[in-house]
Structures are given as structure tokens and as C-alpha cells.
Amino acid sequence: MADTKVDQMSVNVVKEPSMMTGAIPGKDWMDTTVTFKPGNYCYPAKKSIVEYLDKGLPGLFGVPREWTVESDDWQLPENWVEIILQGMRERLDKFRSFKVFMDICVRCGACADKCHFFLGTGDPKNMPVLRAELLRSVYRGNFTKAGKILGSIAGGREMTFEVLKEWFMYFYQCTECRRCSVFCPYGIDTAEITMMARELLHLVGVGTNWILEPAANSNRTGNHLGLQPHTFKQNAEFLLDDIEEVTGVMLKNLTFNRKGAEVLFVIPSADVFAEPGIFTFMGYLLIFEHIGLDYTISTYSSEGGNFGSFTNNELMKKLNGKMYAEAERLGVKWILGGECGHMWRVVHQYMETMNGPPDNLEVPKSPITGTVFENAAAAKMVHMSEFTADLIKHNKLKIDKSRNDHRVVTFHDSCNPARGMGLLEEPRYIHQHVCNNFYEMPENTIREQTFCCGSGTGLNTGEIMDLRMRGGLPRANAVKYVEEKHGVNMLSCICAIDRATLLALMEYWNPNVGVCGISELVGNALIMDGEKERDQDLRFEELLGAGQAEGETGNNEEGE
């Protein structure tokens, strides 16, 4: 848990001198340096992990070594400045986004108070504009004439160790949530800038263990958690027993690595591993069994998430490549993807470009409703919420909404599906059809303006809890609003990192609010063939008015 008690934190964020509370720093930002102390940085990657990754992608992760962040000697290669500058030059030539975003910011400040980390810390370097300037200043100092000649007058500076420390601090206080880019009049996307900065940091061997170890795991075992095939399967099958206990139905359709299945289902691996993701997983399986979907799950491609995307585009591509490779090996027709945020950023905006075209797959078509998912015609991969919404629309799910009556639900738009996909209505449609008590958070905190959980892009690690609780404050605060107004007690989402991190965030700021995936709510409400009288939900918690609702069938709407 966080080092600072919530009562103290509640005062700190309002009273401590910060740019959010009206304090004006006396020193120019270029003259303020960072100090690392326990709690404000993520632990560096272990030598063995970097060695492993270096074998697959030589040179991209720096020299494997043990180093400490608080030390003044990071054991960087002698020519590290050159490596960074050369890396910048290459990326300026490879990414138009990077080049344009380095040049066109007018520093209007519209983005300043859009960042959850700025709102929670008041640290000026967490204003997206200034976060970008950390990199931009080095760009100006080395790649523009004015910056080379006039130096700091023209906003340019040299690449020094102090700058590198600053990068490591603040590009790991950005979750690439893209909220700032919604408001930027030129669409400058801090996520792009953070990605570039992190690529550069990795080049000189500055990376965090929380990101690189899961990435290494994912490469070798198929998933971030490092679950080996038999364990992955056992974990998943273990949940079948829970499902049987709750519903009285033993599901038959779950298979692993089965050739010839129609659909390959890819999930964020946390969904078979930990609460509350496991309940979401139970929901998926119930839906598939209910409609008789011919699907299989792969242990080789058992991770939808992609911690590689928090390092560099090469590792992102390498990890993501498993999905198409496995889909083709198994001979499935198309791929269905579970509820995961950054997984879907990668799937929706990068996958087909990086690893496509998937020649042997077909345009996804729901075997149940006949709906052809034209929006996935090239990438051949459908989002669980799209799939479920289509099922509900065609009245293919028998639903008893009242089974979620013990929940008063609000929906957290996960950043990536919201601002990297435009997946806004499908989750809402599902909610409206599986639960009776649904309330939206205030409009500045949902949909494309949604606030990050505060722990995305591999910041979901325990050593920076205080920071995470600050970064998550805007989200938690909006939940608190509907908790007080409508008695909301359940925060649903479509992201595995959310399911883990919002749980911690709610425990801290709003201890009466639980966290779930949407498919858990669907699973609760599904009326399964041959089920017993349901008096518990998938968490073994009592249903409201359990025992009285016997024989009640769903109040599912007809498809319009």
C-alpha cells in the first residue's frame, strides 16, 4: 500500500505548495534537478532480464548490468550521449509524429491541467507541454540552428546526466493515456513523445524491471506472468469449478491449443490469475458456452497485453507477432480479444501494420448472429465488447438483469479503447442490458475525456504507490462523486491493468467501491441451460433477494 495514509494525502494534494495549489516555482525548470528517493522511481531491470531480451533484439536494451537509480553512476556506456543523439536522429527520420511534435508546439498550455499526474502531483514537469519540452529542449539544442547557436535563450540544452535523470523520472510518470492530445489544437500526442523517450532510454540501458521482466516472460512463456503452459491451463480450468459451484453447470467448451477451432480467443493473462480478472474470465467462458462458440485459447499466445509497447516498437512487434502466428498455426478463422486496454491500442492501431496481413484468416463473422465485423476486415480481430454487444442486439443472450441488482455500477472508459479505438458505445450498451443500476461519472471524466487509472504503461508496480495514488486521484475523485450521489459500489472497466490498479486505487480513495470487468457482469446475468437456482454471483457473494427471483426470466429487450 501507499506510504502516505489517505487522510494525509487528502490534505497534501490540496495544501502542499505545488502548481496545482497556486505555488509558483522560483527557479526556471531547466535549473531544477530531480532527486530520486524510495517511492518516486521504478526499480531498474535486472541484468539477467536485459541479457535475455538482448539476445532476441540486440542493442535495443543497452548493456546488461546491475545499477541503482539513486546512485550518481548509472554505469552508462561511455558514449551514451552519442547513442541518445544518434537514436533521436534515427527516430526523427522514422516517425513523422516525432518530428512534427518536436517543432510545432506553441506552448499555449491547454494541455497543462489535462494530465492526471499533474492534477495529482502539481509538479510542473508533469504538465504534458513541459514533459515534452524535456525532450524538445535537447532536440532544439542539437538539431536546430537557433538552439545550437543561442542555447538556452532559444530553449535548447545539452544532453547531460541531469537531463537523463529527468527523462527517467518524468517519462515514467506518463501513462501514454493521450488525454492531453484530445485538447491539443495540433493533436500533439504526449504518448508518442513518451514512447520515443523510452526507446532512447532503453538504448542506453535505462529501463525498469516491472516492464522488462513481464516482457521477457511474455516472449518465453507466452504471458507476462510467466505461467507455463500446464499452469496456465490449470489456472483456467480451476475457474471452471468455481463456475460450476455458482451456476451448477460444468462448462464443456474450454479447450487449449486446439487446431481447427473457429475462433482464437486471446486474453490479458492476468484474467486467469488474479482477482478480479478471474471473474471477468469466468464471464467470457459463460458467454461462449451459452452461445456454443467454437473457440480455443492458446498457451503459446496466452497474453493479449504487450509490455513491449512500453519499451520500443521492435519488442512490441515481436511480442504481438504471436497472435497471428498462432492463429495461422491453429487454422482458426479469426481472433477474438478479451478486455484489455493497451492490448487493444496495439491490436487496433499497430498489429496489422506490424505483423499483417494475416493471409489465412477470414473477415470475422459472428457464427451466432451472422454479423460481419467490417471494422475488423483487415486485422481480423474483434473486441469482446463488440462481440457481446452484437449478441445482445440480436437477442442471443438470455439475461436476468436482476442478478446484478446488488451492484450499482459506473463505467471507467479505459484510456486506450477510448482514445486509441473509439470504443465508447458498445460497453455502455452492454451495461444497459445486463444491469439495472448504471450511472455515468461526470462528463469531463468519461469517454474521450476519461482519466487514466494512474498506473498504465507499466507503472503498476508497488514501489511507486504514492505516485500512483496521486496519478489516480482524478479517476478516483470522479468515482467518489457518483458513489456519493448514486451509491455506486462497482467500477467496471475493459482493461486488465485497470482491474488490478483500480482495485488498489479504490481501496485507497473509495474503499466501498469494487472493480470488475464488463464480462463479469454479463456472466452474472446469463441464464445458462441447466443451471441451478442462482443465489450467488461469480464472486460467491449473495445476490439481492436471493431465492425470491425463482423462475424469473430475463427482461432482455428485443433487438431494434
Binding site: G22, D103, S181, P185, N217, L227, Q234, K322
Partner: protein, 373 residues
Amino acid sequence: MKHAFLAVIGLIVISWLGSLVGLDYLFGVVFPYLAFAIFLGGFIYRVTNWAKSPVPFRIPTTSGQGKSLDWVKQDKLDCPATFWQVVGRMILEVFVFRSLFKNTKAEIHDGPKLVYGSSKWLWLFGLAFHYCFLIIVLRHMRLFLNPVPAFIGQIEFFDGLFQIGVPVLYQTDLIFVGAVTFLFLRRVLIPQVKYISFAADYFPLFLIFAIAATGILMRYFFRVDIVSIKQLTVGLATFSPAISGDIGSIFYIHVFLVSALLAYFPFSKLMHLGGVFLSPTRNLANNNRMVRHVNPWNDPNIKPHSYAAYEDEFRQFMADADIPLEKELPPEPEPEPAAEEAPAADAAAETPKPAAEEAPAADAAAETPAEKE
């Protein structure tokens, strides 16, 4: 800020002195030509330089419902899926600053309680500034064109609709100065904006203010020889520049400042004029799952850890867990029950941890790397 201020003062002094010592041709002809050439060449250079870098990934910031199932209403302007929808989004972005229109202001109060209020002043004054600038530039076309096109007369008529003063006061002049002043004041008065501002932010504001001020002085207060000016400007436009008569220092100061702005433009943040059109988060359709997007430097040699290598490493476990294999196990004299071998993760399944984040369960991945690619 002081560097920027001094720079503009310096420009004014230089041009004033220049006009005093009779360098009319230099300031009235040479510098304007030079500046325009730098502007044009620089602008083209910058835009083509940007365009030379490819767009490897299609990364629009989706700000509304994307194209999905038929019955889900797509937000075509905030989440375009086709070329023409992108054009729509870009028009709104370029002509009415749609993203900036969404601006909010956040405050934190006791509780803690975060509140977000609408904040449209920057949008309003930004829009006013840019449109007034445009109208003023169009009005100035009168000086370069002979005969003067009718639309310029119409612009002038509407700009001076209230018929105040002689010569008639243009509203755009007033609004323009007000908007520039606003943009300056918010830069020094809002702590967050002040903190991020440096010379490159103040210089264009001071310069533009000085241009506006000298222009206004020339029109409403100092008398300048308008006939000689038109002769010079039309001459400039027709590449036969000639200076006749004494036009007055204020004119040369004004023209030199404009020249400075033109020459400065391509190398400054003012290039947002060109950049906004090339911004990949705005000018791309959100259709990446629908239509293939090609990355010209995509590296086909980056391949996933192969299934074969994976199965080689875990074949025994997979066989024991009844997971289908590509290659069967070699016949073993004494098959040993391997189901016991993963106690850690088994335990994890039995007592699910409160959150995945607490337990990366690394399985010591890196200890036995099995890369065979």
C-alpha cells in the same frame, strides 16, 4: 521575455535608423524580397522535411465513437473512418480550432475535490487573433493588386461597418490588438503558462504587436504618402519596384518588422500553420483494423519467439497437461510424472492474489532463455 523584447526594440531601431540615413531601397525592397524568399523557401523546406519522415503507424486520437457495428452511431467528425470524414475533422480543426474548444480548467478544492470548468477564453481569443490576422492580410492585398479585386472592398466595408472616425476604424485592428494583448497577458499572468514560456514564445507576440502598432499609427495618426506606398508595393508585386518620394520612417519600420516576421516564420513555432495539416493524430482515419496501413521500414526480420521453440521447451509439461502437441514426445523408458513441477503457479491459482500487479510470478524467465530464432 527580456531577450524577446529587446530583439523587437532592436529591429525597430535598426529600421528607423535605416530610414533616417536613406536606406529606403534596402528596407523597402531588398529586405522584403529577401524575407519573402526566406519565408517561401523555408516554409516549403520545413513541410517537405516533415513529409520526408514516414508515418509508420496510423495513430489518430479518437475523440468520439469509432466506426463499429452498423447500429452503433459513429461520431464521424471526432472519430473519422474515411478520407472525407478526416477532411471534415481537419476543417473543423483548422478553421474553428475544435480541439481547443473542448478546453477545460481544473481546480482542486478541499476534500480533495477536483472540478473541471469550461474554459473557452483561449479558444475565443485565439480564433479572433487568427481571423483578424487573416482579414488584415487580405485587406493589405489592396496594396499589391491593381486593379483592386471587389472582394477586398467588401471586406473593408464590413470591417469598417460602424463608420467610426476618419479614416474609418477597422474592427479587426481593435480586436487584433486586444487578442494579442490577451495572449500576452495570459502568458505572464497564468503561472503554468508563464513557467513554460521562453523567448520563442514572447518574440512573435512582441513582433506582431509592434507590427500592428506601427500599422495603426500609420493609418490613423501619422500621415504617410499612400500613393508612393502603393507605387512601391505594386512595384514589388510586379517585380519592378521603385521608390518615389519620402514615404516616412514609420512605413519602413512597419515593413521591416513584417519582413522580420516572414523570415522568422519558417524557423519558429509559427510553423504550426503548416504542421497542423501533418499531425498524424488528426489527419488519419481511425480504420486501421479495416484497411491495411503500410510501414515502409517495417522489419520483417523481427519475428516472435517461435511456437516450435516454445513447444521444445515445454513439451513434457504440455503432454502431461493434455495440451495438443505438434511433435510427440520421444518414447521414454520411464515416463516421470511431471505434474508436480509447478508448485508456485499452482498455489497462485488456489489462492488468487488480490491483484496481478502484486505478483509478477516471473518463473525466473531469464534464467533459462530458450531463444531459437
